[in-house]
């Protein structure tokens, strides 16, 4: 068993490359590969899987495969493989001034919507019903609206989910096993944004099934009997069954994986992480080993949503950045992207890039030929501009805290200087070029719970509501695959809501733990 339980594979699909690693039981990297990401995603994924399995003596020692993928994001961006959704809002007679999906791009709407209805239901901020749930109207709508999935969004459901849960029962009675997305499980306060995320989630059930089937077929074809997990946007994992219910949570897993991988490889839990790729650098912050999250609205494929994502500052600076396009504050620099390996001067090409600039500055020995002498002045100037851009971005994400280390990861991390203003030290751990795949492989299973409760009148009441929120988050982590014995609360916030007649508090709890059965 000890040998069988030893290895896990982490795969992360990025915009340019699909990276794969094999980790042993102690979390050491024993194999790593990079393969180009293919338009269908699955092709590049299989190529990376094959290559990394070929690099280890006995692939049968692999027991788990963790996947961070862009299938869901791409499906939304390309309006492809999306299911048709019956969109149900519980809130009439309120909310009718803005019907569901009013702000969606027309083509995405056409691809996703089977029908929409606003039925009587929902709750006021103080918990009273706006109207009793109109079950007859719901049954009529479901009967008239053939759909692949149902999305249900109730007004103030994050503070009380009973009506949404009741609608799920009604869907079961009427339509059998047609999947249902409930908004209180997906997003937070802000009706339109939460509704949008819930509908996207419902539209992605088919994509989730396709990806799972493709991955399982690929694993079976390679003789692997393994458990599979998907990376989610907060840097934790979810089981295949859980991902099948919440596919929208896979969106944004890439940056989260890279942050978690940086923590693992460097051994620091609190740090700034800069992931330098071919066209951009993503900066994020690790707090106690997890990505700091943003509650700002996130746009996906032209649709505004409000589910939590890692707080990432992306700047247009990468290994392929064309130096002549740097330095104009009003226009984003351009990049040669993956063609850097043919177009950069150090690879015999004719475009001076940031890769050339970094080599000229002695920061890396990349390429097949030396930097041409006549380009040196321009390259030196470009390094100065780039270093200022990095220092500026670091200052923004650090919120003025000057004592954090910076972990440099990604394929072009050599661009970064060894000293950055506002940073204690720059860490360059081994295997940092595949930090994202490492992050997928080492992640814990996680769950989160968000609710709104009346502000506690005393300590006992507060303790009781915190306890029940913690229990719910832990239960969700276990549902995602965590070992019940070792789940812990990794994040807890209590935010008082202003302007309300009765004080109320938004509770957000995140729980995570090692995968069940993990040594």
């Amino acid at each position: 068993m000890s040998e069988r339980a030893a290895l896990r594979v982490g795969i992360d699909v990025g915009g340019t490359n699909t990276d794969a690693v094999v980790l042993d039981a102690a979390g050491r990297v024993v194999a790593k590969v990079k393969r180009p990401t293919t338009p269908d995603v699955t092709g590049g994924l299989c190529a990376a899987l094959d290559a990394v399995l070929a690099a280890i003596p006995d692939p049968r020692q692999v027991t788990r495969v963790m996947l961070g993928t862009t299938h869901a994001t791409n499906a939304i961006l390309e309006r492809r493989s999306l299911g048709r959704v019956a969109v149900l809002r519980l809130g009439a007679p309120a909310t009718t001034s803005v019907p569901p999906l009013s702000d969606w791009p027309e083509d995405l709407r056409a691809a996703v919507v089977a029908g929409t209805a606003i039925v009587r239901g929902g709750r006021f901020v103080d918990g009273r019903e706006i109207a009793p749930l109109d079950e007859d109207a719901i049954r009529r709508f479901l009967a008239e609206t053939p759909a692949d999935a149902v999305a249900v969004t109730g007004v103030f459901s994050p503070a009380g989910a009973d009506q949404e849960l009741r609608v799920r029962e009604i869907v079961r009675e009427e339509l059998g096993d047609v999947p249902v997305s409930l908004s209180h499980e997906i997003g937070t306060l802000g009706l339109l944004e939460r509704e949008n995320a819930t509908v996207l989630n419902a539209a992605l059930y088919g994509v989730a099934r396709e990806v799972t089937a493709a991955l399982e077929a690929a694993l079976a074809a390679r003789g692997l009997a393994v458990e599979t997990f998907f990376a989610q946007n907060d840097g934790t994992l979810m089981s295949v069954e859980y991902a099948a219910r919440y596919p929208v949570l896979t969106i944004g897993s890439g940056p989260a994986n890279s942050l978690r991988g940086a923590a693992h490889l460097s051994g620091v839990a609190d740090a700034i992480v800069a992931d330098v790729g071919g066209t951009s650098t993503d900066l994020g912050v690790l707090v106690a080993g997890f990505p700091r999250e943003s509650s700002a609205a996130v746009e996906i494929g032209g649709v505004t949503t409000n589910f939590r994502m890692p707080d990432i500052l992306s700047i247009a600076l990468g290994g392929g950045t064309i130096i002549d396009t740097l330095g104009d504050p009003r226009e984003a620099p351009r990049s040669v992207g993956y063609r850097v390996a043919t177009e950069a001067l150090v690879f015999g090409g004719s475009t001076p890039t940031m890769t050339d600039a970094a080599v000229a500055a002695g920061r890396g020995s990349v390429g097949t030929r030396p930097v041409p002498a006549e380009a040196r002045d321009r390259l030196t100037a470009a390094v100065r501009v780039a270093d200022e851009l990095i220092a500026d971005a670091v200052d923004r994400v650090s919120l003025g805290k000057a004592d954090l280390p910076l972990v440099a990861v990604g394929g072009a991390a050599f661009l970064l200087p060894d000293r950055i203003p506002g940073v204690r030290e720059v860490l360059r751990p081994a295997h940092s070029e595949v930090a994202n795949a490492v992050g997928a492989a080492i992640a814990l299973a996680g769950g989160r719970f968000e609710t709104i409760v009346p502000a506690a009148r005393d300590a006992a009441e507060r303790a009781a509501s915190l306890e029940s929120a913690k229990e719910e988050a832990a239960a969700r982590a276990v549902a995602a695959g965590a070992d019940p014995a070792s789940v812990r609360i990794v994040e807890l916030s209590e935010i008082p809501l202003s302007y309300l007649p009765e004080p109320a508090v938004r509770l957000h709890v995140k729980a995570a733990g090692p995968l069940a059965g993990m040594p």
Binding site: V125, F156, T304, G400, L500, P501
Partner: protein, 356 residues
């Protein structure tokens, strides 16, 4: 030819209303979605001046009141303006002829397009603040000494309430109580007057002005310069947000923001006091701009206005300030919405005389 607010104007209007919101007035995004969708369902909205209306024509000033957290979740019912219109017709014996925004700054500057479209009425090119203010008595009609009565409110479930308050302060107090009972979000009409009566009590041209502000900055090579030129504003500082302190007291989100200068402003430091809106800008213990003059914090690159709740450490911002409507600088205007109405023991000094 009669001017119309088209689908195409909504984005510019929303952008301009955000600038005139001086950090408050609520998020314009949901209101813009409602405006576009209502125009597409009911048609474009004629934009009229007071002079284009019959002096006896009834004007319906409308505004959403309540907690932003609530209106972002429990979105308004489409029928709320219809119920108010019907009640006004019962009370006055005739229907209103035009809708007016009570507050051009923020969401209440954009939503009236949806309300007017729904009612099939023109929108008056005027409002009662010329900016955003936190309380319903801080309106131009109150400055002009006109009583608010009657006040008509409609909520999301269909309740309609008519109030006859004795003055603007009582109007605020009772309307707030009704709003709380209605779930902390409601639509309100007050100062329902004829076009002739309103002539001495509104701020004119503010809808066109908001659209103009939005248009000037959209797609401009240098949006910030375009915005400053369009407003005739003073640039108080360009720099980085380095300190942000928030406190919620008495239902208001108060706070202090510090911006440290960058580039040509390096070495300078501006403090902005906020209470829902940006109210006072101070540098070296000297006031550089103060309410009721307008102070807006914009993103330096895009010139988009930043709402006070969206201010974050590290943002690259420019603080601009420009004069309010002259009506707010009269003794009565300053009594209602001057520095002391917000608890600052400071005199109002015109921004054009004190800005750097």
């Amino acid at each position: 030819m009669m001017a119309r607010i088209t689908m195409d104007d909504v984005g510019a209007l929303a952008r301009g209303c955000a600038v005139l919101g001086t950090g408050g007035g609520g998020d314009v995004r949901t209101a813009a979605i409602a405006a576009r969708r209502t125009i597409s369902a009911y048609g474009e909205v004629p934009l009229v001046s007071l002079e284009e209306l019959d002096p006896d024509a009834l004007v319906l000033p409308l505004s959403g009141i309540g907690a932003p957290t609530v209106s972002h979740e429990m979105i308004a019912a489409a029928e709320e303006p219809v119920r108010i219109r019907d009640e006004v017709e019962r009370v006055f014996g005739r229907p209103p002829a035009a809708v007016m925004s009570s507050e051009i700054g923020g969401a209440n500057g954009v939503a009236p397009v949806a309300w007017a479209a729904r009612l099939g009425l023109p929108l008056l090119d005027a409002d009662a603040m010329g900016r955003a203010f936190p309380e319903v008595q801080m309106v131009s009609m109150n400055v002009a000494g006109i009583p608010p009565t009657p006040v008509v409110m409609a909520d999301a479930v269909g309740n309609v309430v008519t109030i006859r308050p004795v003055d603007g302060v009582w109007s605020e107090r009772i309307a707030r109580a009704v709003c709380v009972a209605a779930g902390s979000s409601a639509l309100m009409a007050d100062y329902i007057l004829t076009a002739g009566e309103l002539a001495r009590g509104v701020i004119r041209g503010t809808v066109r002005r908001a659209i103009g502000i939005g248009r000037a900055t959209q797609g401009a090579r240098d949006p910030l310069a375009a915005l400053i030129a369009e407003l005739g504003a003073a640039r108080l500082i360009t720099g980085k947000l380095t300190e942000l302190e928030r406190r919620t007291t008495g239902g208001f989100a108060r706070g202090t923001v510090v911006i440290e200068g960058t580039g040509e402003d390096r070495g300078r430091r501006l403090t902005v006091e906020i209470q829902n809106e940006n109210l006072v800008a101070i540098e070296n213990d000297r006031v550089r701009a103060i309410v009721p003059d307008l102070i807006t914090i914009v993103d330096t690159l895009t010139a988009s206005a930043i709402q006070t709740e969206n201010l974050r450490y590290g943002q690259r911002v420019t603080v601009i300030a420009w004069p309010c409507d002259p009506l707010w600088r009269t003794p009565e205007g300053l009594k209602i919405a001057g520095p002391r109405a917000f608890g600052y023991d400071l005199d109002h000094l015109p921004v054009e005389t004190i800005a750097p």
